[in-house]
């Protein structure tokens, strides 16, 4: 099953989920529409369009060029995407634990070392400089109240 078919079926499922959820909100009447009416109508429209998309794909119609290319351009790509994604999640969950500047340093080091392919020394230097600059720019100068770390430093 190619990605177009999966997408069509998935989005049809999304439309169906929204449709069912909309029914739990007051629909009202056409004279006085409730909160469920607009999402209900939009979900019906989405299901209709997704059905059309899936049908066209099953009939072999090429909607655009996206399916002509492999999902990952090279063998290393899935690993790199996973690393990038892990970095994002790691930063998100480290931020409230160790604070803005230290977590920024770890995040930058991780990205530049493992995805930027820089040496350990360059990565550490880049991470420290960025963390210090980000601290002064965002926390000191712009006074953005970043999350307070659980350890209180």
């Amino acid at each position: 099953m190619n990605r177009e078919k999966i997408t069509g079926i998935f989005l049809f499922g999304l439309g169906l989920a929204v449709f069912l959820k909309s029914l739990t909100y007051p629909l009202g009447t056409l004279r006085k529409p409730g909160g469920g009416l607009f999402p209900l109508m939009a979900s019906v429209l989405l299901m209709g369009l997704c059905a059309l998309l899936t049908l066209q794909v099953f009939r072999g119609k090429e909607l655009d060029k996206s399916s002509q290319f492999p999902f990952f351009p090279e063998k290393e790509a899935p690993r790199r995407i996973l690393l990038g994604f892990a970095g994002l999640l790691g930063y998100r969950y480290l931020l409230p634990v160790i604070g803005f500047a230290p977590s920024t340093g770890v995040f930058i080091f991780f990205l530049s070392r493992f995805l930027g392919k820089y040496g350990r020394g360059v990565s550490i230097l880049f991470a420290v400089l960025t963390a210090v600059a980000a601290y002064f720019l965002f926390q000191v100068w712009l006074k953005i109240p970043m999350p307070r770390p659980v350890f209180g430093f």
């Binding site: 990605r3 177009e4 997408t7 989005l11 999304l14 439309g15 929204v18 909100y25 007051p26 009447t29 056409l30 004279r31 006085k32 529409p33 409730g34 909160g35 469920g36 009416l37 607009f38 999402p39 979900s43 989405l46 369009l49 998309l53 909607l63 655009d64 996206s66 399916s67 999902f71 990952f72 351009p73 290393e76 790509a77 790199r80 995407i81 690393l83 990038g84 994604f85 994002l88 999640l89 930063y91 998100r92 931020l95 409230p96 920024t104 995040f107 930058i108 990205l111 530049s112 995805l115 930027g116 392919k117 880049f126 960025t130 980000a134 965002f138 712009l142 953005i144 970043m146 999350p147």
Partner: protein, 504 residues
């Protein structure tokens, strides 16, 4: 007419005082800066800087805060062109051709035409604001819910039409965008699609969605390949547009100015709508529409002019009627009230210094922005020469801080990461992010107009086609769809004929 010029002279007398000049420059500089930095929008910045103005008289305070708003429109194009991340939602469309121009080594002319277009449109927009504020506001007031609904449907249709992939996919993703916009409390106070998560009660924040779809997704896509390249291989030269660029851009700038100004008066995210409409119009009018999406300078000149001109249009309902048309205008209106001034029909009469002083400062501000932006272009172009291995962690850092600073909420970071993944998968499956974002922004306004129209017509859907303005706008939207369907049929017929000929 003489009165207008007399008042303008008074306004310039106020705007050119040393303190007002410095505050105007400060506003323009901060505006450009936050426009350049993705994730920190003008509404948030104006709100953050409001306390700074507490000790200032009202006119200088409004002059500075206004400068941030229109300055952000100048700066918003810079990151759109250089790193494919819109500094502002209104610059989202500039990413398409601006970034392609940059990839071809034409970042200079793209940035140059964005700055000049912004200057011309911004200045002319202020001129129009000065001259036609009362009658234009009066005309826009005649727009009832059906007309507003129709305008938004037209905006969404046009946007879907201009998407580079399939129209069907664009409509589908626009509907998904509507669902994202429905999360939160509806106009009747009902919690929808929040699943009991308190962070979603006020809806899903625009900034994390934008940062995810445009920032994180782009970085993830770039991470797929081993990063050994510089961002741009070719030497970036000629920051000023050449004669050919000007020839191609002159009419788009003129059209963008008028589109932006007219749409700017209509409530809603008109800066964004006007830039999208301008892009669609330029693509449609172009003799070679196939260049669009591949680095057509008209795709930068038109939208950038439109969103700057829309800024001037945005001020009309606030200054003359006291109605904020967008989040930024709501914050600026808040600033008026904090300073003891009530914006509305009596503003011109009771506080001419603020009204005319602000308008005069906009002329000066546009000149300042042109001077600020053209020399600064060189700095941002140099930023591009930083290797991608250094650049992408910084882009992600800005996205994180921007998404977090929006509401000081860690949940916003989850939203950003989620939409980063969604944006990545969308790219892989041929879905454009712009229709999703546009539908998401428009959703609350669209639904409100839809529900009010039905209430007004006692449940009769024909209200959308029996009112002449609404019918004309919807007819235009239908024409856009039919044009696409028929051009597709024509293409298929041509392909079939070619195939038959080859077989014969």
């Amino acid at each position: 007419m003489m009165d207008v010029f007399q008042n303008m002279l008074t306004g310039f007398g106020i705007a050119v005082t040393p303190m007002n000049l410095i505050l105007c420059l400060a506003g323009c500089f901060v505006g450009t800066l936050i426009g350049v930095l993705p994730g920190i929008g003008p509404a948030a910045t104006i709100a953050l800087l409001l306390p700074v103005t507490f000790n200032l008289p009202p006119a200088p305070a409004i002059i500075m805060l206004s400068g941030i708003f229109y300055g952000a429109m100048y700066g918003g194009s810079t990151t759109a062109i250089l790193v494919n991340i819109p500094g502002e939602a209104a610059s989202a469309i500039t990413c398409i051709d601006g970034y392609q121009m940059a990839r071809k080594g034409r970042a200079g002319p793209a940035l140059g035409i964005a700055a000049f277009g912004s200057f011309i449109a911004g200045t002319f927009g202020v001129f129009l604001l000065m001259l036609v504020a009362p009658p234009v506001a009066e005309a826009a007031l005649k727009f009832g819910p059906p007309e507003i609904f129709s305008v938004m449907v037209l905006g969404l249709t046009i946007l879907s039409y201009l998407s580079s992939g399939s129209l069907l996919k664009a409509f589908i993703i626009a509907l998904v965008g509507l669902f994202v916009g429905m999360v939160g409390i509806d106009i009747a106070g009902i919690y929808r699609f929040t699943f009991g998560i308190p962070d979603f009660f006020d809806g899903i924040g625009l900034v994390p969605v934008l940062m995810g779809l445009f920032g994180v997704a782009e970085v993830l896509l770039n991470l797929e390949q081993i990063i050994t390249r510089q961002v741009f291989e070719s030497k970036i030269k000629g920051l000023l547009p050449n004669r050919e660029d000007w020839k191609l851009s002159a009419l788009p700038i003129v059209r963008g100015t008028f589109i932006g100004f007219l749409l700017g008066v209509i409530p809603g995210p008109s800066n964004t709508i006007s830039s999208f409409v301008s892009y669609a119009m330029e693509k449609r009018l172009s003799k070679s529409p196939e260049r669009f999406g591949k680095g057509a300078i008209e795709g930068v000149a038109g939208p950038e002019s439109a969103n700057n001109s829309a800024c001037a249009g945005n001020f009309i309902p606030v200054l003359t009627l006291g109605i904020p048309t967008s989040a930024v205008m709501a914050v600026i209106m808040g600033a008026f009230i904090i300073h003891g001034v009530t914006p509305g029909p009596l503003l011109i009469k009771n506080n001419p210094d603020i009204f005319w002083g602000t308008i005069a400062s906009m002329y000066i501000g546009n000149i300042m922005l042109l001077i600020l932006n053209l020399p600064l272009i060189g700095i941002w172009v140099r930023v591009l020469k930083v290797p991608y291995g250094i650049l992408f962690p910084l882009i992600l850092l800005f996205c994180f801080v921007g998404a977090y600073a929006n509401n000081n909420s860690l949940a916003e970071l989850n939203v950003m990461i989620f939409f980063g993944l969604v944006g990545y998968l969308m790219k892989k499956t041929g879905f454009e992010p712009a229709p999703l974002v546009m539908a998401y922004i428009l959703c609350p306004f669209l639904e409100e107009a839809f529900r009010q129209s039905l209430i007004k017509s006692h449940g009769d859907f024909s209200i959308f086609v029996t009112r002449p303005i609404s019918a004309a706008i919807l007819g235009l939207a239908l024409a856009v769809i039919l044009t696409n369907v028929f051009s597709g049929m024509k293409q298929r017929r041509m392909n079939l004929l070619r195939k038959l000929k080859e077989e014969a």
